[in-house]
């Protein structure tokens, strides 16, 4: 019925208009801008000015390296932690469950700026509570903001704190969709709790965990606020500069939109590629 068709378009149109203007077109436009020399006025088309620079830019490789390091360390640690949280929270033996749930899930609602500020203060070198606590057990203080490795560790710790609960929520939802009688059957078959986890829970959770990994990869690829605010704009000396931060600096400090767009597309392409790789490996392992 054509009338129903028209009604459907009427329902869809307002959203579609916004979606096309602020999402679809920018996705395409970003690609086009990456082929513009935006450091001249007016912009001029050039196949190589940005992409050529990208493949030769040490700042890009530094940011790429930092981002991948964070990705490789932070994502697995966080997902493992989130899985443990979810499994333990799901245990029928747990008392005061709401309290524990609150502890792990609360960071999910805390804004990036607020938590960046707290982390910055907690880890400050001379008077930060963390170094005071480290000192109180007799260890030397850590230069969280002056030592490149420590600064990376700090970013990883911060991101893990902020996002582990988020993933735990998703994994917990997955756990709760596993029917209980599967475990009852396993218990009657004299399968131990730990074996149940590895042979029943994990395989059944795999799609959910993969989903979390993909989400985290996308998040990490564009990581911006933490190195921007906590480690002071990617410091020390670029040791925590991520691709997201490089994009910001190129786009909005140097106003070199063409180069920033090339970086943006690289981020997107890497995110998609790594996600697909994950899904592929996940399917292979089945």
């Amino acid at each position: 019925m054509p009338l129903r068709n028209r009604i459907a378009y009427a329902f869809l149109a307002p959203y579609l208009l916004i979606f096309a203007t602020f999402w679809l077109w920018p996705i395409i436009n970003s690609f086009l801008i990456s082929f513009q020399n935006t450091r001249v006025n007016p912009w001029r088309f050039s196949l190589t000015v940005n992409w050529g620079r990208l493949v030769a830019d040490p700042a890009f490789y530094n940011a790429l390296y930092n981002t991948l390091i964070i990705l490789v360390i932070q994502v697995p640690v966080m997902i493992a932690l989130a899985t443990v949280m979810a499994v333990l929270l799901n245990s029928p033996l747990l008392k005061a469950r709401p309290l524990y749930r609150f502890a792990f899930f609360a960071p999910v609602v805390v804004g990036e700026v607020a938590y960046a500020a707290v982390f910055r203060l907690m880890f400050s070198i001379d008077f930060g509570i963390i170094n005071k606590l480290i000192g109180s057990v007799g260890l030397p203080p850590v230069s969280w903001f002056d030592n490149g490795t420590a600064a990376m560790a700090l970013v990883i710790i911060a991101v893990t704190w902020r996002w582990a609960g988020y993933n735990a929520i998703i994994i917990l939802a997955g756990l709760q969709s596993i029917p209980g009688d599967v475990y009852e059957a396993a218990t009657l078959d004299r399968v131990g709790k730990v074996q149940q986890f590895f042979h029943i829970t994990l395989p059944l959770l795999k799609p959910i965990i993969l989903f979390c990994v993909v989400l985290s990869v996308i998040g990490t690829m564009q990581l911006f606020t933490e190195p921007f605010l906590i480690t002071n704009r990617g410091g020390p000396g670029g040791a925590t500069e991520t691709l997201g931060l490089l994009l910001y600096r190129q786009g909005f400090t140097s106003l070199n939109f063409g180069y920033a767009s090339a970086i943006a597309y690289t981020i997107a392409a890497l995110a998609v590629a790594i996600s697909l790789l994950n899904l592929f490996i996940g399917r292979e392992a089945k």
Binding site: F11, L12, P26, N29, L88, K95, V113, A117, K193
Partner: protein, 278 residues
């Protein structure tokens, strides 16, 4: 044979022994945020380990307000989040309804485009969005710039679509047989039934807008038009600034939403978990 109750007790003990330290570590930053916000700056930077709140919150807030007009920023943040949430729920539920309940030409293409691009990072559109809004539309430092562009978010469409397609078709057929107009079916039958989904979605959207940082940072950087996170962010890294004030701001940003979280945990969680259900 092992005694059943004894084994259970041991398991319970081990469980709590593992979870309690983890929970304390996880709560620690939030607790310290609160503690810092009540301490004078000389207390924060004293060599003593202080883990208990003091009484300097109001003083700290006054310092914050002196550093940046935080009340104005809070007002902007709240207003933007409310308007954004209402608009976004309207748009996404209408679109979700259309995609769930009508078969029209182009339907599967729209769904494919939404699904295909939903996982792309925001980074990929930030440059053209900025150029468009700031340079072509000349909308930098306006309310529209804060509210309208983020409405593209398509997770809500899928969320609402899922909710509508799980409702029994017969319900809408019954109304159609009774001669109820399509938009009234949507308004009087579909929307009331989707209320739990809309609640969960609203919370997630409100939270996203409230905490949004990068886009407001780029588009509204003029002092009178900054959102609260942006205003607070400008202070971090300055040398002559009250850290107690920053912490007071952080608490003001966090506490209301944490408070809501405690009471609406179920909706929060179903909203977040819904991202995984496709």
């Amino acid at each position: 044979m092992k005694s059943k109750s004894r084994t259970l007790m041991m398991q319970r003990l081990a469980l709590h022994a593992a979870l309690t330290p983890l929970a304390i570590i996880w709560l620690f930053p939030l607790w310290m945020m609160f503690v810092f916000s009540t301490m004078p700056d000389y207390g924060i930077f004293s060599p003593d380990i202080v883990l208990w709140p003091s009484t300097n919150f109001v003083e700290n807030f006054k310092n914050l307000q002196a550093d940046t007009n935080f009340l104005r920023a809070m007002f902007i943040s709240i207003t933007v989040a409310v308007i954004y949430t209402v608009l976004s729920v309207m748009l996404t539920s209408m679109a979700g309804w259309a995609l769930a309940r009508y078969r029209f030409a182009g339907r599967s293409m729209v769904i494919a485009i939404i699904l295909g691009t939903i996982t792309l990072p925001f980074a990929v559109v930030v440059i053209p969005q900025f150029i468009m809004v700031a340079r072509e539309f000349k909308l930098a430092n306006t309310w529209v710039a804060l509210i309208v562009p983020p409405l593209f978010n398509s997770l809500g469409v899928l969320f609402m679509r899922q909710s509508f397609s799980m409702m029994p078709t017969e319900l809408f057929d019954a109304a159609r047989v009774e001669g109820v107009k399509e938009w009234r079916i949507f308004l009087h039958i579909a929307l009331p039934l989707a209320r739990p989904t809309m609640a969960a979605l609203s919370i997630i959207l409100f939270l996203a807008s409230w905490n949004n940082y990068l886009w407001p940072l780029l588009i509204n950087s003029r002092p009178g038009m900054m959102t609260a996170p942006v205003a607070l962010g400008t202070l971090i890294g300055l040398t002559k600034v009250s850290w107690g004030g920053i912490m007071a701001g952080a608490v003001l940003l966090t506490a209301p939403i944490l408070f809501v979280f405690i009471f609406l945990q179920r909706h929060f969680i179903s909203g977040i978990a819904a991202g995984a259900i496709k």
